[in-house]
């Protein structure tokens, strides 16, 4: 196996909440536990997906990897070097090696810049390239690479003169300017029309193959995650609760939360219009200030038993084939699920007979 580019161990980010007077007097503090002990590693040339609902900490994890936020606890290693608490020049270097594609390409580009200026800026900041002529050649090459051609036509345009898809291409081009070792893509296609979404993802995947790029793909959309990623981690309330090869996670999910997420996805097939969707989950996501004891999913889980909230939180255990799951009862649930499916099948048979 190749060397992992990024290793996160027990990565934690807690945000303080403004204290009330009584809390100040009692020396108490409440914390939003946005990322609460996350461990994963990303191999070179791999696309690693982080999925989960809003508020699960996936974007915060992305920002920690970028070092846009200070890490509360845990360690982060990029290419074998500890970057957890780096500052100054080392931090600048880190940000050169790790680039980010944001959700809204319009908000992440200076509207007064032309595309040329947008793409030049990272080179100027990091003082890469010997002169303007050399940089100019690079900018043109990258634009061809993301299929914004002919480059001359696009270089003079401002972000508002591009369509949503073109803007996201330009944003991708900008991250490529510094030849990064890791790209964090935070919901890069969620604001793009369905018809062009696939086009952007195909382009990103093609670039990954050609240039050997490594991505962390953050999304709430499981169906694009399946196509786009090699490995997937499902987050819930600041923790990874299931992780493994994308196909395995989606077709053979074991954690009840992952199963609920998958059950909730709509599929473009006929014959579902008069059925009520079966989403095996109850209640709503609790606040990250007040994380339930034991397994953090237990209040919403249909299979939880006393030991789920009385005992310690289950760990993310490898169950073979790189598939990891943090659930105490996954074997029983799997058996229950199969039993339910068999009874359903027999019912179906009876109905047709």
């Amino acid at each position: 196996m190749s060397e992992p580019i990024l290793v996160a161990e027990n990565l934690t980010k807690w945000f303080p909440v403004k204290r009330s007077l009584t809390q100040v007097v009692r020396h108490e503090r409440t914390w939003v536990r946005a990322v609460d002990g996350v461990s994963f590693s990303v191999e070179k040339g791999e696309i690693f997906g982080l999925v989960g609902e809003s508020g699960c900490g996936k974007t915060t994890t992305g920002k920690l990897v970028m070092k846009l936020l200070d890490i509360t606890d845990g360690t982060l290693k990029l290419q074998g070097e500890d970057v957890t608490h780096i500052k100054g020049a080392a931090l600048a270097q880190h940000r050169r090696h790790v680039q980010m594609i944001f959700q809204d390409p319009y908000a992440s580009m200076n509207p007064r810049f032309t595309i040329e200026e947008v793409l030049m800026e990272p080179l100027e900041i990091h003082n890469v390239g010997k002169d303007r002529a050399e940089r100019d050649v690079w900018v043109r090459e990258i634009l061809e690479e993301v299929k914004l051609s002919p480059p001359d036509e696009f270089l003079v345009r401002h972000p508002h003169m591009l369509s949503g898809g073109q803007r996201q291409r330009a944003a991708t081009a900008r991250t490529l300017m510094l030849n990064p070792s890791l790209i964090v893509a935070d919901e890069p296609v969620s604001m793009i029309d369905l018809s062009t979404r696939a086009e952007i993802l195909s382009m990103m995947k093609q670039l990954q193959r050609e240039m050997g790029l490594t991505y962390i793909y953050i999304t709430h959309d499981l169906s694009t995650a399946r196509y786009f990623t090699d490995r997937l981690a499902v987050m819930y309330l600041g923790k990874i609760i299931e992780m493994g090869p994308a196909g395995t996670i989606i077709d053979k999910a074991l954690h009840p939360y992952t199963m609920a997420l998958i059950g909730a996805v709509c599929e473009p097939v006929s014959g579902k219009v008069n059925q009520i969707k079966d989403v095996p989950i109850k209640g709503e996501i609790p606040a990250a200030t007040n994380i339930p004891t034991g397994c953090r999913f237990h209040p919403r889980c249909l299979y939880s038993v006393a030991e789920c909230w009385q005992e310690e939180e289950p760990t993310l255990d490898d169950i073979g084939g790189g598939h990891r799951v943090a659930c105490r009862r996954y074997k029983e649930i799997e058996r229950l699920g199969n039993a339910a499916r068999t009874s359903e099948a027999s019912l179906g048979l009876r109905r047709t007979a």
Partner: protein, 325 residues
């Protein structure tokens, strides 16, 4: 026997008069909605689906103007009514709309009770106690408890706010509710819950829905019939089975749109997409509006305007390839 039609739209035209020129956002649209059915409207952004929704309330956003056509709601043309009559008798009374990002429609400084009562008071004279009873009933119907009435919007989650908005749209008992992307800002689990709620309401209350979204996979789960819009016109309209069934849709645009919709349980090497961008509606292409992006175009597609024709019962297509001539 065919069910009664609650809404019939004929040759509806809505243009935006901008400085750059006239944008033909809705161009001679004709369709109908039966009682108790859900009609899905899909298309890419800018195809005119939201514009069409506002037109149905006779509420075009300036600089838009409805310049032609008829909207028959219960047999009455609402475009002929005065603004006052529309406001009193039509909007929210017979046809209501749940807007895109509806959770942001709630005023942050009012309690839910106050905002809901405001709608009610505009339309009905009612004792406070009776009004409160009615609000409670409708909140319960959408799966919320009574104490939501005392709350402010910021105390509710996105899904709960969406339910409040749906309850508010429902409680004057309209015949038609237009839902414009009601689930796009919501998480998948909450989205599934809202979809279930809408299905449940359709059965319990018997209201008809027009469900606008860009996502064909959501339409597959909620809509009895699907209307596919492209560049202000109808490309295809058919039943759920005709669009999503094994034979697949007839129009190349619908086929491609469906091809670009990812499926969860299928291993795919390459996702399909539609090259090019939707046309500029100030100067739409000659002939079939999809022809510049169409993979299977014929010679005549670039020249002759293509009509919408019925190719089998309930299945209308605007594509020269689909007509046997």
């Amino acid at each position: 026997m065919e069910k009664e039609r609650v809404l019939e739209v004929q040759d509806l035209e809505l243009h935006y008069f901008t400085r750059k020129g006239v944008v033909k956002a809705v161009d001679k649209l004709s369709f109908f909605l039966r009682k108790g059915e859900t009609l899905g409207v899909v298309g890419e952004s800018g195809c005119g689906k939201t514009t069409m929704g506002t037109a149905l309330l006779n509420m075009p956003t300036p600089p838009g103007r409805i310049i032609g056509g008829r909207i028959l709601l219960d047999g009455q043309d609402i475009l002929k009514l005065s603004e006052n009559e529309v406001r009193r008798r039509v909007r929210w009374e017979t046809i209501a709309m749940v807007f895109q990002g509806a959770m942001n429609c709630l005023t942050p400084v009012y309690t839910i009770e106050k905002q809901m009562r405001e709608t009610l008071q505009q339309h009905r004279t009612m004792e406070k106690a009776e009004a409160k009873e009615r609000m409670k009933n409708y909140l319960n119907l959408v799966g919320l408890s009574d104490d939501v009435l005392r709350r402010y919007p910021h105390e509710l989650s996105g899904g709960m706010k969406q339910r409040v908005v749906i309850a508010t749209a429902l409680f004057l008992e309209p015949k038609v509710i237009i839902c414009d992307e009601p689930t796009t800002a919501l998480d998948v689990v909450v989205q599934a819950q809202i979809i279930n709620l809408l299905k449940d309401l359709k059965e319990q209350v018997g209201v008809s829905f027009i469900f606008i979204t860009h996502d064909l996979s959501i339409e597959a789960e909620v809509s009895d019939r699907i209307l596919v819009m492209y560049a202000g016109r109808i490309a295809e309209m058919g039943t759920n089975a005709q669009i999503y069934g094994p034979q697949g849709p007839a129009h190349p645009y619908t086929q491609r749109l469906l091809g670009a919709t990812p499926r969860l349980h299928e291993e795919v090497e390459e996702l399909a997409f539609i090259p090019g961008t939707p046309p500029d509606l100030i100067a739409p292409p000659e002939g079939c509006r999809f022809h510049p992006r169409c993979p299977v175009l014929l010679e005549r597609c670039a020249q002759d305007d293509v009509p919408l024709r019925e190719i089998e019962p309930d299945h209308m297509v605007a594509c020269w390839r689909c007509f046997d001539e």
